[in-house]
Assembly symmetry: D2
C-alpha cells in the first residue's frame, strides 16, 4: 500500500504512521519527496484495514497495490472455475443459454414458454416469482405460488430452473424449489442476503448493480465465496449512464476484465442490457465474441401479454432465430452450443 | 398517456389498442400523422399499467402525462408535510441537524460524541449498528449490541436516535431501540424492506440510491406511504458519476425538484455527498441555501480512530465551527437552527 | 409533436399555442385530460422549432414524435450507405480494418508500422499529426510535418491514410495530405469544423464524444451531410461513465441502434474504447459480432517507445494475432476480411 | 510517482525502469513486495512524461503524487487571484453577477434586457453571437452582427460584455468587441482555441465540459495560463449524468474542490446547471453559500419569444426577485453584492 501524505504533514506524523504499519507486521517504507512525503507498506495490505489510515488527517490519499478481493481473484486461483446448474456446466467449453420469461405468470405461460425454449436448445429455464419493481403499482410477482409453478414446469420439461431471491428470509424456500439462485442488480450489495447465499450449497448467479463497478461486483462475489459457497456465476446486465437510447448501457468491457482478474464464470443478459427486443440478438453475439460463458435471455410465449418486460422479450420464433444466429459465433469462439 | 406507434403499424393495430384503452375506462384518441400515428389515452393513466402497451410490437414508445407516484406528489397534497423525530420537527421552520458517528463502536465513543453534538445544538443523534460495506473484510457494525448502546446513549444525553435498518427481519428490533429508521442508499430499492417500514409507525429517513433518479426516490417513498406510514423524510446523499475528485456527486438540483414535486421534507448528507472533511461545511451551507429542511452529518469524537468513514467525519471542535458557520445561512433562509 | 401543459395552464393559454401551431402549417390538436391538458401538432414538426414552445411558461414538456435528424436517418434513406476511402469500401460486405499508431512520430516509425499493418491485411492507415491532449505538457503532434510523413508513407506502402483534423483552418491542408478526415471525440460538437468538412469531398470518420448520446452523434453527422458531404462514417469509441476499470465504457449497444436508425456505416475503436491492450482483441470481436462495418485500431512498431497511447497499442505480432483472431467472427457475420 | 509492476515483471524489468528514472534526474526507488514490486520516482515527476512508462508492458499502473497542473495550482500560488472584467473584480470580496440573454437576437432585445439587468444591479452583460447548437436546424447566432450589437449596447448601458468564442480564427474579432471571452462547455478541450486565448490580454471565462473532471478543467486552464494569460475564471455549469429530471447535474462539490486546489476565481451558471427556470434562484443561492465568486445567469426581456434557452431564462421581474433573494446569502458569506 502506498500512502501519500498531505503537504503539511511533518516527519513526526510520518513516523507515527510508520510505527502503525510495523505494528501489524508489514514492512514500513519512508520516501520523502521534494514536495510530498510518500509512505509504503510491504506485505499483506489487507491487514492494514484495521488502522483506518484513510481517516488520518495527515493522509491525502492511499493507493492499494493488491486487489481488495482475494478468493475470487485469478491471482489466488489461476484455473477457470466451472459451476454446474442441474447438468449445465457454466464456464466449460459448452456455451450456456438460460431462457424464459421475466416473471412466472401462470402454469400455462410457463409450460408453453419452457417447452419452446427447451425444444430450441436452451440449457436452463429462468422465471421470477419475486419481482422488484420501481413502482408499488406494478406487478410484484406470484411469490411462493410462482416458485411452485416454476418447479413443476422445470420437472415436466426437464430444464433446471433459475430464479431470483430478494430477501434473506426467502433463501431456504427458493433453495427448495430452484436449481440456482439469481441475485438481481438492486440486491448486489444486499450483504446479508449474500452471506446467507454463501451458506447455501446451490449456485448463485450474481448480477452487477446498475451503478456498481466491476470491482464492487467482485467484492460482492467475495462475500458469497468467503462464507463457503464457491459456486458463483457473475452476470453483466448493463449499467446506468447518461445514454437513454437504450434501457441500460451493456458494459461488455467487463467481460475481458473479469476473465483477467477472476476465475469465476461470467454470463451476459442482453435483454436488460439493451431493453430493446431488436438489439438482443446482436448484443448476444457480441457477448459470445468477447468471451462470455453464457447468456440469460428473456423469452415469453406471447410478449404482447407479458406482465413485465414484454418489450424486451423474444417470442418462441424469435428465440429460434436467436439460437440459429448466435451458433456461428459460438463456434468461432471455439465453443459448442 | 401518449402512445407513439412504429412507422409500420397499421390502422388495424391502432384500432386494437384504442379498444384496449377504452376497455379500462379511459378515453381513447386517434391522431394519424404524416409519418407516424400517435394515440392518446385520457383519464387516470395508472389504470393502463395492466395493458402492458409497451410490450406491443407496434408501439415505439410511450410518454406518460402524469407522475408515476401519487401519494407523495405535491399535486395530490399541496401543503408541506412535517415529520417529527422525538420532538424535532423536520420540514418546519426549524432547520434540523442530525449528527453522530458513522458507526456505533463503543459506549465511550457514543457518549463522548453524543454529548458533544448535543452541547453544540444538534437535534438528533445518528449512529449505525448495521453497516453495509463493499468488502466482507471491513467492519460490519456491532449489530444488536450497537442498538443497545445507541439507545442508552440517546436516553442519557437526551437526543432522539436515528439508525440504519438493512433487512426486513430487523425492523421490529430497530423500531424498539431507535426513534427513526434510516434506509441506506444501497437499500433504497429493497422493496420488501420499504413495505415493512410502511407498516411501522416510526419515521423513515430514505436515502437516495447511488444510481437512482429523483423519480425512483419518490417511487420508493410511495412504497412506504402506500403501506400506511406517511412519515417519510427524503435524503440526498450524492450520486455516482464519472467525477472521482469527490466520493459522490452531491446533486443539490434534487432539492428544488423535490420541493416542487413532493410535499415530503428533504434533508442532505454532505458527509457522504462529498467524502472529504473539508467540503462538508461548504456543501452543508449550500444545502441550507437551496431549500433543504435539514442535514445529517458525521461527527466522531476522534475521527482518526474511527472504524469507518473517519476521513469524512468532523471532530467536536470542527462540528462547533460547522454549526457557527451554517447559522447565518439558516437565518438567510428565514429559518432557525 | 406532443405538448404537455402545466396543471395551471388555462384554456386561453392552450388556444394561443394551438393558433401558433396552425400558423406554421401543422394541424393542431386539443386533448383536455382530467388532470392535464395535452396538445398535439401533426405534420413536419421540424417547422415548430421557430416557435420555441419549450420557452412558454405554460408548457411543462414537449415530446417530439420524429427524430431531430433527417438526412442521416434510415427513414429518409432506407438503403445502407457505403463510403469509399481510397478503395476500401466501408459499409460493404468487406469488413474494414484501419490500423496504425496513435501519433505520427517519425518517418521510421511510420514506415515500419505501416508496412507491418499492410502486410497483415489492414485496409487503411491511421496516424495523428495533431494530437489533442488533456495536458499542455504532453506531446502535441508533429503538425504539418507529420502530415507530410503520413502522406509519403501512405504512398510508399500503398495504404490510404486517415488522420485527425482539429480545426477549421487546417481542413484544406489535411485534405491535401490524407484520404479521409477523422474528427476526434473532443471535436464531435465543434460545429464550425463539421460545417467545413461538409463542404469537402473527402470522407469523414466522426467519433462519438465522451458524453454524447447516439442522437447527438447523428445530429453531428447531420451537420456534415446537410452541408453537402454525404461520406460520413460514424465511430463508437467509448463513453465516460463511473466505471474506472477501463479508460472508457465501449457502448456497443450503439451499433444496432445506429444500424436501425441510420443508413451510415459505423466502425468501432476498441483501443480507446478499452484503453487496455489485452482487451482490444476481445472487444474487436464483439464489435464485429454486433454488426460494426469496421475497426480502427492502434498499432505501433514498438509500443514501449510510443509518444502516446502506447499502453493500448498492439505491436506488429499482436496485430497479426488480432487479425487471425477476428477472422472467424468476420466470417460468422457473413462478411470478408 | 509510484509505478506498480505486473505480477510477472522480473527484477531485470524493474532495473531497466529504475535506470530510466535516474536518467531524467529523479531519484529511483525499488520496493519489492510479497506479491508485487513497486517502484518510486522522487523529484519533479512531470519530467517522467517523456519516458511513457505507462506504455511499458511490465507496468500495471502508475499513481502520480503531484497534480498534473502547476501554474493554476494553489500549491504554486497560495493567494487568491482576482480577475477584472471592465471594473468588476471577480474573486474579490464583491460577489459578481453576469446577466443577459443566451443569444444576441436584436438591438431591441439586447437594449431592453441589458438596461433591466443593469438597473437591478448586475455587474456584467452576457449574450452570445455564436451559438453552438446540437442540431444544424437550430438558430446559430447572429455572428459578427451580434458582436456589434453587443458592443453598442454594452457602451450605451455601461456594462462590460462577456461573449462566447467558438473558434481560433474569431479570437481577434471577439476580442475587439467584448470585455471578456467565454469558452463554452463543448470547447473546453479545444486546445488550439485555448492556446490562442492564452496569447490574448483579455480575461477568459472557461466553462467546464459536460464530461470533464475538475482536473480536466484545471488542465484546460493551464493551457491558457501557460501561454501567458493569467486572467482565467473557471465556471461550473453542470455535468452529464444519468439524471434526466434536470438538464444537467450542477456539481457544486467542484467549488470547494477548486478553491482548495487552485487560486483561480470560480463562478457558477445555474441556468444551464439546472435547465429549469424555477430552480435557478435556489441553485444560485447554493452557489453563493458554498463559496463561488459569482454567477452567470440567463435573463431575457421576454423569455417566451427567446430564440434559445427561453425555458431557463428569467424575465426582468424574476431577475429582480433573484437579486433580492440571493442578497442575504451573499451577506451571510461575508461578501457584498
Amino acid at each position: 500500500m502506498i500512502i501519500i501524505l498531505k503537504p503539511e504533514a511533518t516527519k513526526k506524523d510520518a513516523d507515527e504512521i510508520l510505527v502503525q504499519i510495523g505494528s501489524v507486521g508489514l514492512k514500513p517504507l519512508y520516501m520523502p519527496g521534494t514536495e510530498r512525503t510518500v509512505l509504503g507498506a510491504i506485505g499483506d495490505e489487507r491487514k492494514l484495514g484495521g488502522l483506518h489510515l484513510e481517516s488520518n488527517p495527515c493522509v491525502d490519499r492511499i493507493t492499494p497495490i493488491l486487489t481488495p478481493y482475494k478468493l475470487v481473484s485469478r491471482e489466488s486461483h489461476p484455473a477457470d472455475t466451472i459451476v454446474e446448474i442441474g447438468g449445465a456446466m457454466i464456464g466449460s467449453k459448452r456455451f450456456t443459454v438460460i431462457a424464459g420469461p421475466c416473471a412466472v405468470e401462470s402454469m400455462d405461460q410457463m409450460l408453453l414458454t419452457a417447452q419452446a425454449v427447451k425444444d430450441t436448445g436452451a440449457h436452463c429455464l429462468r422465471g421470477g416469482a419475486y419481482k422488484p419493481r420501481s413502482s408499488p403499482y406494478s406487478f410484484q410477482g406470484l411469490g411462493k405460488h410462482g416458485l411452485e409453478i416454476l418447479h413443476d414446469v422445470s420437472e415436466k420439461v426437464g430444464l433446471p430452473a433459475v430464479t431470483e431471491v430478494i430477501e434473506t428470509e426467502d433463501v431456504s424456500l427458493v433453495e427448495h424449489y430452484a436449481a440456482a439462485f439469481q441475485v438481481g442488480a438492486r440486491n448486489m450489495q444486499n450483504f446479508r442476503l449474500l452471506k446467507a447465499l454463501g451458506r447455501s450449497s446451490k449456485p448463485v448467479i450474481l448480477k452487477r448493480g446498475m451503478s456498481a463497478t466491476v470491482e464492487d461486483l467482485l467484492l460482492a462475489a467475495e462475500y458469497i465465496v468467503s462464507e463457503g459457497n464457491p459456486k458463483v456465476i457473475l452476470c453483466e446486465r448493463g449499467i446506468r449512464t447518461f445514454e437513454t437510447a437504450t434501457r441500460n448501457t451493456l458494459d461488455l468491457n467487463a467481460i475481458p476484465y473479469i476473465k483477467q482478474h477472476s476465475h469465476l464464470p461470467v454470463i451476459v443478459d442482453p435483454s436488460h442490457g439493451t431493453g430493446v427486443r431488436e438489439y438482443v440478438t446482436p448484443m448476444a453475439k457480441a457477448a459470445v465474441a468477447c468471451g462470455a460463458d453464457g447468456l440469460i435471455v428473456e423469452v415469453h410465449h406471447d410478449p404482447k401479454s407479458a406482465l413485465s418486460d414484454g418489450h424486451q422479450s423474444l417470442d418462441p420464433d424469435q428465440f429460434e432465430r436467436f439460437m440459429d444466429e448466435i451458433r456461428p459465433f459460438v463456434q468461432a469462439a471455439g465453443r459448442e452450443l
